[in-house]
Amino acid sequence: MLTVALRRIAMLVPILLGVSMLTFGAMHMIPGDLAVALLGVDNAQDPVALENIRRKYGLDQPLPVQYVKWLGHAARGDFGQSLRLHVPVLDEILRRLPVTVELAFFSVVFGLIVGGAIGTLAAMRGRGWSIFGRSYIMLGVAVPSFFLGTLLILFGGRYIPFIPTLEYVSITEDPARHLLGLVYPVISLGTGLAAVIAENTWSAVAEAMNLEHVRVARAKGLDERRVVTRHILRNALIPITTITGLQMAFLLGGTIIIESIFAIPGLGRLAYSAINLRDYPLMQGIVLVIAVMVVLANLLADLAYALFDPRIRLS
C-alpha cells in the first residue's frame, strides 16, 4: 500500500511540471507584445513605462529563464500583483476559494446522493426505473448547467418565493439564507455530475450483484437491505469514488458559469472577470491553482481507490 501510494505521489512531479509549463505557455500565446498587453494599450505609449514593465516581469530575458523564474516565485506562493485589483494574486485567490470549495462540496454531495440513488434503483428495480435512469443519464448531461440555472431562476423565482435566486448572502451574515441561496447553484452544477455518477453506479451495482459473495449473502438469508448496503454498495463504491474524483475538472469548470449566473463571489467568477479584463497575472494564477486542485483531487481519488480495494491495500 505504502509503495503504491508513494509511487503515485511521485508521479505528481512530472504532471505538475507539465501543468505549469502549459499554463505559462498559454499566456505567452498572446499575439504581439506581452508588455503592451500588461500595461494596456493606452499606457503603452510611454517608452519608459514599457521598459519598466519589461524589466519588472523579466520580459527582456529568454523564455526558459522567464519560466524558471516564474515557477520559482509561484512555488513560494508569489503569483505577482493583479493588474486591475492591485492586490497580490494569491491573496485574492485565497479570499475567493472557500466560496467555490463550498459550492463544489455541496454539488458533489448532491451528485452522490441523487446519482447514487438513481443508479442503484435503475440496476436493481424493474424496467420503469431503468428507463427513468437512462433518460436521466441522457438529459442530465444534455441540459447544460447554464440553461438549467436560467430555468431555475426563471421558474423558481416565479413560483418558489422563499428561495433567493440572484443574491449572495455570506454565511456570517445569515447562515440559513446563505444555504438557501446555494440550492439552485448546487442543483445546476450537481445535475450533470449526478448523471455521470448514476451511469457508473448503475454498471458498478449491476456488476456487484453478480458477485459470488452477494449470492452467498442472499442464500444464507440475509435481509435484502443489508445485502444492498453491506455487500453491493460497498463494492460499487470503489469505482464511484474514482469517477467522482475524475469529475473534478468538469466541476471546477462549471463553477465559472454557475458563479457568473448566480452572482456568487467565488473563484469561478474571479476567473471569468480576470479573463474578461485581461488581467494576465490573475488569469495565470487561477488557472494554475485550479489545475493543481484537479491533480490533487485525482490523486486523492486514486489513493481512496487503493484504500478501499483490499487487493491493492494488502499488496
Binding site: 507539465g18 498559454a26 498572446i30 444534455a142 436560467t150 475538472a249 485550479i290 485525482n298
Partner: protein, 304 residues
C-alpha cells in the same frame, strides 16, 4: 477490463469465419435490424431533423436572422414570428435555425481535430508501448488537469473568437479523451494471434495498424465520436454563452441565451428557444452514442 471486452469481440468477429458462420451468415439488413435499439433510432431521427433544419436554414426561416423586423422588440410568439422576437426585434425562429449552423460547424470541426490528434497520440502509445506510451500518457494526464471551459476561455480570449480558433481549442482539449479511447483497444489487439500472423508473413507496422488495429478499434472510437459531438456542442454553447462565441451579429445559441437572460422575465421565449435547441442537439448525439454503444458492444447488451 476494456481489453477483455475487445478480446471477446474480436473472437466473435474473427477474421477467419468458422464453417458455421459461412453457412448461416445473416444478411446485412437483418444484422442491422437486430442491432437497432430505441436510443439509436430516436437519435438518428433527431439527427436527420437537425441536419435538414441546418442545411435548409435559409429556406425554412421566415426572416433574415440579423434583420430588425417591424414587429418591435420582445414580441411574443405569433403568426409572423413562430418564436417571437428578441430584444432588438429580430425573429427568434430564424436566429435559432441559423445559430445551429455555427454550433454544428464548430462541433464537427472540433471533434475532427480531436479525432486526428487522438489517433496520432493513442495508436503509438498503445502499439509501441514502453517509453513512448509512458511519455504520451503523462502528457495526457497533464491535459486532463485543465477544465475544458476554463482553458478554452483563456485561449480563445487570447487568440480572439472565431470559428477556427474555437474548433482548434476545443478539439485540442478533447484529444486526450479520444487518445485514451484509441489506446485501450490498440493495446489489446496488438497481442492477438492474427497480428502475430500478419507480422510473420512480413507485414510492416503501417499495414498492421491500418488493416488490423484500426478496424478493431473502430467501434469504441465511433461511439466516442458521437458522445464527444454532444459534449462539444455544450462546450461551444457555454463559451458563446459567456460571450466568447463567434463575433456578433452571427446568431449562435449560447450567445442568444446569454444575451436574452436579462429580459427572460417578460420574454421567456427568447431564452427557452435557444436553450431547447441546445438540449435537443446534445441529446441527439448522446442518444446516437449510447445507442451505438449498445449495438456494438456485446457486453453492454448482456448487462442491461
Amino acid at each position: 477490463m476494456v481489453g477483455s471486452e475487445f478480446a471477446r469481440r474480436s473472437i466473435e468477429e474473427s477474421p477467419v469465419p468458422s464453417r458455421h458462420e459461412l453457412g448461416a451468415r445473416p444478411t446485412g439488413f437483418t444484422r442491422l435490424r437486430r442491432r437497432l435499439n430505441v436510443q439509436l433510432v430516436l437519435g438518428l431521427a433527431l439527427f436527420s431533423v437537425l441536419l435538414l433544419a441546418t442545411v435548409f436554414a435559409s429556406v425554412i426561416s421566415t426572416h433574415d436572422p440579423n434583420a430588425i423586423t417591424t414587429t418591435g422588440s420582445l414580441a411574443p410568439p405569433q403568426a409572423g414570428h413562430l418564436l417571437g422576437t428578441d430584444s432588438i426585434g429580430r425573429d427568434v425562429f430564424s436566429r435559432v435555425l441559423h445559430g445551429g449552423r455555427v454550433s454544428l460547424q464548430v462541433s464537427v470541426l472540433s471533434v475532427a481535430v480531436a479525432l486526428v490528434l487522438g489517433l496520432l497520440l493513442g495508436i503509438p502509445a498503445g502499439y509501441l508501448g514502453g517509453r513512448v506510451d509512458q511519455v504520451i500518457t503523462r502528457v495526457l494526464d497533464v491535459l486532463f488537469a485543465f477544465p475544458a471551459i476554463l482553458f478554452a476561455l483563456v485561449v480563445v480570449t487570447i487568440l480572439g473568437p472565431s470559428i477556427r480558433n474555437l474548433a482548434l481549442t476545443i478539439g485540442f482539449l478533447y484529444a486526450p479523451r479520444m487518445a485514451r479511447i484509441v489506446r485501450a483497444p490498440t493495446l489489446a489487439v496488438k497481442e492477438r494471434e492474427f497480428v502475430e500472423a500478419a507480422r510473420a508473413i512480413g507485414a510492416g507496422d503501417l499495414r498492421i495498424v491500418s488493416k488490423h488495429i484500426l478496424p478493431n478499434a473502430s467501434s469504441p472510437v465511433i461511439v466516442e465520436v458521437s458522445l464527444a459531438l454532444g459534449q462539444v456542442i455544450l462546450t461551444e454553447t457555454a463559451l458563446s454563452f459567456l460571450g466568447l462565441g463567434p463575433p456578433p451579429p452571427a446568431a449562435s445559441w449560447g450567445a442568444m441565451l446569454g444575451q436574452s437572460r436579462q429580459f427572460m422575465e417578460f420574454a421567456p421565449w427568447t431564452v427557452l428557444a435557444p436553450g431547447l435547441a441546445i438540449v435537443l442537439s446534445a441529446t441527439c448525439f448522446l442518444l446516437i452514442g449510447h445507442g451505438l454503444r449498445r449495438a456494438l458492444d456485446p457486453r453492454e447488451r448482456s448487462v442491461r
